[in-house]
């Protein structure tokens, strides 16, 4: 009698453990995917922001046409990039163009005092930060995920679910610079 009870108890524990681990993996995977999706959302947000920014700067510094067109072109390129690799490269160029624009802006005190412009700067900054944080979150989440699916005994469940490691977001030369949001000084 007692023997049967013990066996039942062990079985119950195993089943509960299996379900719990399964659910944890589902949750972890969802978080990795969500983190990945956030990157796209934030990049899109940045694209939406740029025309506004360019318009505002134009009002004060119309003859900086070269810098302004560079930003607009980089944005167009990034928005219509066919492959992820090219998108990463285009985003890097966009960041570079934005940084140049911000340097130019330093010469226009009136512009820097413009409430609307400050507003845009804050928007830009939060977007830049969000992009960096989204990447960081993706890497953090996939690191947790990757190490979790290799741990014994969780790896048994993982292999049953056919879970695979997520690759880290490799930082390329351009993207490496992009990690640091452009320094915005008010």
């Amino acid at each position: 009698m007692i023997g049967v009870l013990i066996i039942f108890a062990i079985l119950a524990i195993v089943v509960i453990w299996y379900i719990a681990t399964y659910n944890r993996f589902v949750r972890l995977r969802q978080r990795v995917k969500n983190a990945w999706a956030q990157i796209d959302v934030q990049l899109k947000r940045r694209h939406d922001l740029i025309p506004n920014l360019v318009e505002t700067v134009k009002g004060y510094a119309a003859h900086e046409r070269e810098t302004l067109t560079a930003v607009t072109e980089a944005r167009a390129k990034a928005a219509s990039a066919p492959s992820p690799q090219e998108a990463i490269k285009a985003e890097g160029e966009l960041t570079e163009a934005l940084r140049r624009l911000l340097l130019v802006v330093e010469n226009y005190p009136n512009l820097k005092a413009d409430q609307h412009f400050l507003q845009l700067m804050e928007d830009l900054r939060t977007t830049e930060n969000s992009i960096a944080f989204a990447r960081q979150a993706y890497n953090d989440q996939s690191m947790v995920f990757n190490s979790q699916i290799k741990k014994i005994p969780d790896s048994i469940v993982a292999s049953q679910m056919r879970l695979k490691e997520y690759p880290f977001w490799e930082i390329e030369e351009a993207a490496a610079e992009e990690r640091e949001a452009p320094e915005v000084k008010f």
């Binding site: 969500n34 928007d123 900054r125 939060t126």
Partner: protein
């Protein structure tokens, strides 16, 4: 050895899990023991034939019920009512600073890979922030005092609590503590009660004492465990905040700024039910309590300077640099006092020595790093003898170029009789308008008191004379003069006056007023 924030996180997580695992059996067992005690008391009618093992089962059922009730009903409504009471508002997006708060919360939600929580700004000047359930609230004082990065760090800390659901666990812990207190109080009520029944040879008195002792021990231990878990949670949230922002320095400087809050403790945030949820304990404890062993054991937050030092180690920045970064030296204000929960300063040397609570226990930090109080005092050529009022150390200094002797603790001053007129003459220019107002009002109070009792020399309470620090003789207690009725102490042998802190200002204010009167 330097730990990474991942390692700190792992360590703290393990500690919290272990403590929780310990808490359940502890709670169940203490309830069972309680029933066992009740069995011997006058309520034994209900429990007479029960066995200890049955009690154990009953109490574990009660524990589980309490657990589920407190998880399910974890007073979310209470938090909303609390926010409403504080008049907390959602960030006003037309205000740049508020928008920054909203943005930072969004960024941190992305970094933590969680859905965005609700944000509130509490219109209170104290610098603090808390998170409960899906709410993150930050005070107006913190919003204005912290820069964007620091704000981000504070929000990241709160985001960590939100992600881990710490407020739920804290709710569970506190409801366990409440349940224990509830049962214990009831048992006390019964245990002392029925004196006529003489069951099992135990008198009511014995049971009463046993239950009181038991209440005391269990409550103490519950509090202790609560605090232990709560402190680990704060450390963990700090480490997670570093993971989210990858910027330990900004959290360190945010904590540093928050710990310098001058309106801490008098703001509306000190409600004990919510205090453990804040990033730093909003209640300012008595200085002497917080540094003691008991302060350590029952504190819900780790000592803030320990937290700052951990973060600084992660950032690889020295404390000196942090202070320089957050507050450049101005007007010789270069002295800092470090206590567990507060960083006070910057002070000038004089201000520092005026602080009554500075003893050998607190850390003092100057330009060259940490210094001992005795080292500072030795700079001032300290004098043999002790303050007649408080026994504190005496040193030579100046009151507007007039040499005086000052107590480093209570701020009382000793002045030679022939120098007093100089102080009165020069002090008139020294005193600010605000100080004068304060002095005048206290002067008025003294005047009224003595006016009622009749302004005779006997009206001064001279029953406990002070001892002169120089000759050891008794000092006279008398009015400084019969216009202002400020009682002072005077050694007739050494010809020294002793003024308590503020008294000389009162006299100066009085002199000034008399001048107006007779102009």
């Amino acid at each position: 050895m330097k730990k990474t924030f991942w390692e700190i996180q792992r360590e703290k997580k393990r500690a919290i899990t272990l403590l929780f695992l310990f808490f359940f059996p502890f709670f169940t067992f203490s309830l069972a023991v309680l029933f066992e005690i009740l069995r011997f008391s006058s309520v034994s009618l209900f429990f007479k034939d029960a066995k200890f093992s049955e009690f154990l089962i009953v109490s574990s059922v009660i524990s589980l019920i309490v657990f589920f009730i407190s998880v399910k009903g974890s007073s979310e409504g209470k938090i909303y009512r609390y926010l409403e009471m504080l008049n907390a508002q959602v960030p006003d997006l037309k205000d740049m600073k508020h928008q920054q708060v909203a943005n930072v919360v969004r960024e941190m939600a992305i970094a933590a890979a969680v859905p965005k929580p609700r944000v509130y700004v509490i219109p209170v000047l104290g610098k603090n922030a808390f998170s409960a359930f899906n709410i993150i609230a930050i005070t107006e004082g913190a919003v204005s005092a912290l820069d964007r990065d620091e704000l981000q760090a504070v929000v990241a800390h709160e985001m960590a609590h939100y992600l881990r659901g710490d407020s739920y666990y804290k709710g569970v812990l506190s409801s366990f503590a409440m349940t224990i207190t509830f049962f214990l109080t009831i048992s006390l009520f019964f245990a002392g009660g029925d004196e006529n029944s003489e069951r099992r040879g135990f008198g009511g008195g014995f049971i009463g004492i046993a239950v009181v002792a038991y209440i005391f021990l269990v409550e103490l231990f519950t509090k202790f465990l609560n605090a232990l878990i709560s402190r680990r949670m704060e450390d963990l949230a700090d480490a997670m905040a570093v993971q989210f922002t990858r910027n330990p320095l900004s959290l360190a400087s945010a904590l540093f700024k928050v710990s310098r809050d001058r309106v801490r403790g008098i703001s509306l945030l000190t409600n004990p039910a919510v205090a453990p949820l804040f990033i730093v304990n909003p209640a300012r404890k008595q200085i002497d309590e917080s540094s003691g062993v008991f302060g350590d054991i029952f504190a819900t937050h780790p000592p803030i300077n320990k937290r700052i030092n951990t973060l600084l180690k992660l950032a690889g920045v020295s404390r000196k640099e942090l202070v320089e970064r957050t507050s450049p030296v101005r007007n010789n204000r270069e002295w800092w006092v470090e206590k567990q929960d507060e960083n006070l300063g910057p002070f000038t040397l004089e201000e520092l020595l005026e602080k009554t609570w500075i003893g050998e226990g607190v850390k003092i930090r100057g330009k060259e790093g940490e210094v001992k109080l005795s080292q500072i005092l030795s700079k001032f050529r300290p004098i043999e003898g002790q303050c007649p009022r408080c026994g504190g150390p005496l040193f030579n200094t100046y009151y507007d170029f007039v040499p005086i002797i000052k107590c480093g603790r209570c701020g009382g001053i000793l002045v030679r009789e022939d120098r007093i007129m100089r102080i009165l003459a020069r002090g008139e220019n020294q005193i600010t308008e605000a100080e004068e107002k304060v002095s005048e009002s206290s002067l008025e109070k003294e005047r009224k008191t003595f006016y009622i009792h009749g302004a005779s020399p006997e009206a001064v309470d001279a029953s406990q004379p002070l001892k002169c620090p120089f000759c050891g003789g008794e000092m006279w207690r008398k009015f400084f003069n019969f216009i202002n009725y400020v009682p002072v102490d005077y050694c007739p042998k050494c010809k020294y006056y002793f003024f308590d802190s503020g008294e000389i200002e009162m006299i100066i204010a009085g002199v000034k007023r008399t001048k107006y009167l007779y102009r």
